[in-house]
Amino acid sequence: MMQLPEHPDWLWESAAPKRSYDVVIVGAGGHGLATAYYLARNHGITDVAVLERGWLAGGNMARNTTIIRSNYLWDESAGIYEHALKLWETLEEELDYPLLFSQRGVLNLAHSLQDVRDSVRRVEANRLNGVDAEWLDPRQVKEVCPIVNISQDVRYPVLGATFQPRAGIAKHDHVAWGFAKAAAALGVHFVENCEVTGLRVSNGRVTGVETTRGTIGAGRVALCAAGHTSVVAATAGIDLPLQSHPLQALVSELLEPVHPTVVMSNAVHVYVSQAHKGELVMGAGIDAANSYRQRGAFHIIERQMAAALELFPVFARAHVLRTWGGVVDVSPDASPIVGLSPVEGLYLNCGWGTGGFKATPGVGWCFAHTVAHDEPHPLTAPFSLDRFVTGALVDEHGAAAVAH
């Protein structure tokens, strides 16, 4: 028999929108909720509404594979993700909510000599940036995760892996609801089934939002709309270097524990963990073509399964129970865009692609600072929109193992 911690008896109440708020946050996903929470907690700004076109935390927050890690290559990335990881480490107490945060470690596998070089480079950079990281040889990989196939006879054998022991997983719904409950207790409103259809701008300054539930005035507007950011921003004439793509994931049935950690592989594109209840949670590849359908193509799932069985032959007779997709907004350098926008009082938080969940508390913290002070937080300053003009990209494409 299996018991997991129960949700609390009271969470939050969906509100009817007021006529106006100090701050309107577009999108009640993890980032929107965390931003609302830290606006109230760190900056005392509580006249805040978080608007959600569907149900609270029903977009990518409900659809991701919940991997948390901070072992990114570039200093800028390591800075924000490590900040987030440190917040994760105390978040259950902070929010007084069982988040099922489990620091079970993440392995990023290397399958070629160049993977090995890139991996060691990342491990060494992580250490100098204060991020825990180790390079493991295949035998050590097997010690951490006994079911990984380290035979050298397979098509792309495992040549080793990076390991971040402090990395892990958390339960996404719990995280969203923990932030929501805590923010609600501080006075934040959540308005569900309220799609933002336009941004109101006057003399270069944002004044509110048009929604399917009427116009809502706002002193400041913070975009946390993930895959739909382009659509919202376009209503204020703002073009963003984003492309929206479906990203799929899947779960198996509940299984007795076999997989103690998180394994990610770039070369054969797998990332998999076994959640607390026992289901295998796996991410698949991104669909190549732009789409706003929260659903991907099936051949991507089939490829994903083939890759998974190369690494984990014991998964052969596990079953796919459910597949789903989210819409991710991908930037040209696979790094986020966080900060000011060309419109005064309108703030951008987007471009997190496939990797936004792990940043949730960190970006909420920094973005709240940005909204409160009308200036970038030092940790997110490198992720300005301006970098695409200067060329100072934070290119996680070739560098970091996988961006999930």
Binding site: D118, L128, L254, A306, R317, W324, G391
Partner: protein, 936 residues
């Protein structure tokens, strides 16, 4: 208990099986569930959270309760007893919600097939068979898929007849007749589980599971069907819904239709004394059939005050009908031994205990709209039926039969036939009117305590749990699903989903239609990972590319490196040599004697046409159009952002013919890049690009003695430095083979690259080896080029490096007005003087080998105490390549270092483990900087 006769099982054969360690018998035609019921096994599994006993609930794939683990012949987790066909030697056990994966490899094979058809019919019940027959009659290509081992669908579970023939026999005959047709395929044991864009559907066929240990090894156990259908007919039937009341999870509680199926299809009576609890007419048929079969039907408890003629008929048969009543509770120790009936609502509580070991329930029917919803079709809640019905479709799809609320047999046949006709021609009879069994939707028996009113049996979710969720403020079905986990189990809420919504609606006092249901997602039924992986595993996971010389490399002990899909010789250890010794020996041979490498994997692209020179000028950073016929030039390509994309040599074969070489890993990407620019930006350029990588075998012949070896092999070729200068090529006969010889060098030594057709590759190589030439692999190639400071794209670059950063400003034309990437060099960040630049590093300890990937820190960072500060530690760059050099007699490295080109002579520190290794920055060209050796 098994009846003496009846059903579609073959009583003449006995199958032995074990369940939870006890031996039982059954018959061909049984499922594990029917065999267990026949043996009187009521408790099959335990519930996941509360550990409550659970029995067989349904008779189909919607089963929420009877979860089993198959152990023999091979462990398979989480199957439903209702879908496991019985075979001799089956060993299974009940599960408490979690399965077990085998620790040994799965020996079975899996496969996938593609199919195209005019009409795909999903479901071989009466509507599906009628649809397939109508479509096939026109000569259309038809695929009929059904998850059961035999066609018939609902007909297998009733005593109904079609045209006077028993339903199951009619179905078998109809399917057989269809299979006679050349363009019809009937797929049995095949579940269509996904419906994607453009009428692409995916199904899994279970081919050998039912054979147990007798399954032939050469037949794929499961096979994925990828079906593209012009039109689809969904005849997927309906699921009978449970009702939430106290104790509704006990073994012995089952949908009325399931009991009827056990009777008619398997000849099994799932109990001796039954109570029927219903809100519609359909359960009366089950009651009467069971009564006919000898079950004591104690009472029919009907929610309705005035059920109509079916109640009259039941009473005529001597069955008591309690109208306006509900079952308040089922009770028993581990299984039902009685129920408490009572009036529905009202202030006066009348209670009536009834002994029974079987409680048949019908809260209504839910059409199976999963695939329709997956197809993008909208759903609408039908108040009368109390279920979601297909609404507007987005794809070319028809729905027929019970899947759209048509329930009588005649109507299903007509509806199916019409759908089949429309699917072919686009026109035909209109869909028939829905004909749900008379009744009312009924969900929840009111009570004071809802802690044993189960909504989702498999996830142990009760009405009390749903109430707690709505009490927490949740109003969306998606939130309640996540709060309670209802609908997330193995059955994905097939029988519980709408019930959960209805309970929510009841608790919140809102219409069911306002709440809707959670999204239907693929797969409709769980599908094994292995089936989806198919044959794309092991050697077939990704193609292996080998050169024409591969067999020689294998025979001569080469170890291989994967480079993209290619297998490249890494080094050739001699007995007793480790990698270091072998590479040092190979390097010495190349620097001091003569050595050869298989360079066939380098990408080769023929660029032909009058505008070929102009085209290459636009893509390469340097000028190519000025190249003379007979000459060779090194070139670099950048992406439009100015970052290095690929490099290689360009050979001019004729005025209008260039041969471009690329890095091994980038060959396809470079060709794609060229085609993209040609076709989409510069269609007016008269240029054609063709990959010729595999047409040529290429051998690099390297070393001071390479000239004399070549002279012997190519006696007709003048090989003197003046006659055959650097960066030119010649046609020649080498080892008696027609060859193109290029004088280029990726090692700094005198070297030739000899190209012959792939067919001749091995003969050329063997001729070279016969000259006593040392073979070398990629590792030695890497060392030799690094000594010369030649970067490897992808190793010394990472997509953030410009040609200037590589110290190759000389390869960037200042004459050309534009080329791809040029404009980006002027951006603020790209023009920064402190960009990371390629340099050489010499560890102060000449024996110390820096690990590749090591970072570098400035002396001011480590301070006089030579200690790293607290993180974050500022980094200057990292080691991209690092080797022991035979030629330099020491270790060295290449690195990308901030403002590196201005740091020559500076000391930096490389943190390696717990030590700080001092290194000196030098030019990246460490060996023969004057280039004196290339002419030999």
């Amino acid at each position: 208990m098994r009846r003496e006769s009846g059903g579609r099982v073959d009583r003449s054969r006995v199958l032995r099986f074990t369940f939870d360690g006890r031996e039982y018998t059954g018959h061909p035609g049984d499922t594990l569930a029917s065999a267990l019921l026949a043996n009187g096994v009521r408790r099959v599994a335990a519930s996941v959270k509360l550990g409550r006993p659970r029995g067989v609930f349904s008779a189909g794939s919607e089963e929420p309760n009877a979860l089993v683990q198959v152990e023999t012949p091979f462990p398979e987790p989480m199957l439903t007893a209702t879908t496991v066909e019985l075979y001799d030697g089956l060993a299974a056990r009940g599960l408490a919600g979690r399965g077990r994966l085998a620790s040994e490899p799965d020996p079975a094979r899996y496969d996938a097939v593609h199919a195209h058809c005019d009409v795909l019919v999903v479901g071989a019940g009466p509507a599906g068979l009628a649809a397939a027959r109508a479509a096939a009659a026109t000569g259309a290509r038809v695929i009929l898929a059904d998850e059961q081992p035999e066609p018939g669908g609902g007909l297998l579970g009733t005593a109904e007849t079609v045209d006077g023939t028993p339903g199951a026999e009619w179905a078998a005959a109809t399917a057989a007749a269809l299979e006679e047709l050349p363009d019809v395929r009937v797929l049995r044991r095949t579940t269509v589980f996904g419906y994607y864009d453009d009428n692409y559907l995916v199904a899994v066929e279970r081919r050998t599971n039912h054979l147990g240990a007798q399954a032939p090894a050469h037949v794929a156990r499961e096979r994925i069907w990828r079906i593209r259908a012009r039109r689809v007919v969904l005849a997927t039937g309906a699921h009978e819904r449970p009702i939430a009341f106290a104790g509704n999870d006990l073994p012995g509680v089952m949908p009325a239709g399931a009991a009827r199926t056990y009777l008619h299809r398997y000849g099994v009576l799932p109990g001796r004394r039954a109570v029927v609890f219903t809100a519609n007419d359909s359960a009366y048929a089950a009651a009467l059939d069971l009564a006919d079969a000898g079950v004591d039907v104690a009472a029919i408890v009907d929610v309705r005050q005035a059920p109509g003629s079916c109640a009259t008929r039941a009473r005529e048969r001597g069955i008591e009908v309690l109208t306006g009543h509900v079952v308040r509770q089922a009770h028993g120790d581990g299984q039902v031994d009685g129920v408490v009936a009572g009036t529905d609502g009202g202030d006066v509580l009348e209670e009536r205990p009834i002994d029974a070991d079987l409680l048949l329930v019908s809260g209504g029917w839910s059409p199976v709209v999963h695939l329709f919803s997956q197809s993008g079709g909208s759903l609408r809640y039908d108040e009368e039926l109390g279920a979601m019905l297909p609404g507007r479709s987005r794809q070319a799809v028809e729905v027929a039969g019970a899947a759209r609320g048509v329930f009588t047999l005649e109507a299903c046949l007509a509806d199916g036939a019409g759908a089949g006709e429309r699917a072919v021609s686009g026109t035909g009879p209109a869909p028939v009117e829905p004909s749900p069994p008379a009744g009312v939707p009924y969900w929840l028996v009111p009570a004071a305590d809802y802690s044993a009113h189960f909504v989702d049996l498999q996830r142990d979710v009760t009405v009390a749990d749903v109430r707690r969720a709505t009490g927490a403020g949740l109003r969306s079905v998606e939130h309640v699903k996540r709060y309670t986990t209802a609908g997330t189990a193995h059955d994905q809420g097939k029988t519980s989903g709408l019930l959960t919504t209805a309970v929510m609606a009841h608790l919140l006092g809102v219409p069911v239609a306002d709440l809707g249901v959670t999204t239907f997602r693929a797969p409709y039924l769980p599908v094994s990972f292995a089936a989806l992986a198919g044959r794309d595993r092991g050697e077939l996971h990704d193609p292996v590319r080998v050169t024409a010389l591969h067999e020689w490399h294998v025979a001569n002990g080469a170890l291989f490196e994967n480079v993209g899909q290619w297998k490249r010789p890494w080094y050739y250890p001699r007995p007793g040599e480790d990698m270091e010794a072998a590479v040092l020996r190979e390097c010495r041979a190349a620097r001091e004697q003569v050595a050869a490498m298989d360079a066939s994997t380098l990408g080769k692209i023929d660029v032909i046409g009058p505008d070929a020179g102009e085209f290459l000028d636009r893509l390469y950073t340097n000028l190519m159009s000025t190249l003379k016929v007979g000459a060779i030039r090194y070139g670099v390509m950048c992406r439009a952002d100015g970052m290095v994309f690929d490099d290689g040599t360009v050979i001019r074969l004729a005025e209008d013919h260039f041969l471009v070489t690329t890095t091994t890993g980038n060959a396809a990407a470079v060709l794609d890049w060229m085609e993209e620019w040609l076709q989409t930006e510069w269609p007016s350029l008269r240029v054609y690009c063709t990959s010729v990588t595999e047409q040529w075998a290429t051998v690099a012949l390297v070393g001071p003695r390479s000239r004399e070896v070549l002279a012997r092999l190519a006696p007709g070729l003048p090989v003197g430095a003046a006659e055959f200068p650097f960066m030119t090529w010649r046609e020649a006969e080498v080892a008696g083979l027609p060859a193109r010889v290029c004088r280029i060098s990726f090692s700094g030594e005198l070297a030739y690259e000899i190209n012959v057709t792939s067919w001749d590759g091995l003969r050329l190589w063997e001729a070279i080896m016969a000259e006593g030439v040392t073979p070398y692999g990629t590792e030695t190639m890497h060392v030799l080029r690094a000594e010369k400071g030649y970067p490897i794209v992808g190793q010394d670059t990472d997509g953030t490096v410009t040609p200037h950063d590589l110290g190759m400003s000389w390869v960037v034309s200042k004459k050309k007005p534009d080329f791809v990437g040029k404009r980006s060099f002027g951006r603020a960040d790209t023009a920064r003087p402190d960009r990371k630049q390629l340099v050489g590093l010499l560890p102060e300890d000449p024996a110390f080998l820096l690990p590749e990937g090591t970072h570098l820190v400035a002396p001011e960072t480590v301070g006089p105490g030579r200690r790293l500060p607290e993180p974050p530690v500022p980094m200057l760059g990292h080691v991209t390549s690092s080797y022991r050099s035979a030629a330099l007699g020491r270790t060295f490295a290449l690195a990308l270092v901030k403002a590196g080109q201005s740091r020559y002579g500076e000391r930096l520190y490389a943190p390696v483990g717990d030590t700080l290794v001092p290194v000196t920055v030098t030019s990246h060209v460490l060996y023969d900087p004057e280039g004196a050796r290339r002419d030999g």
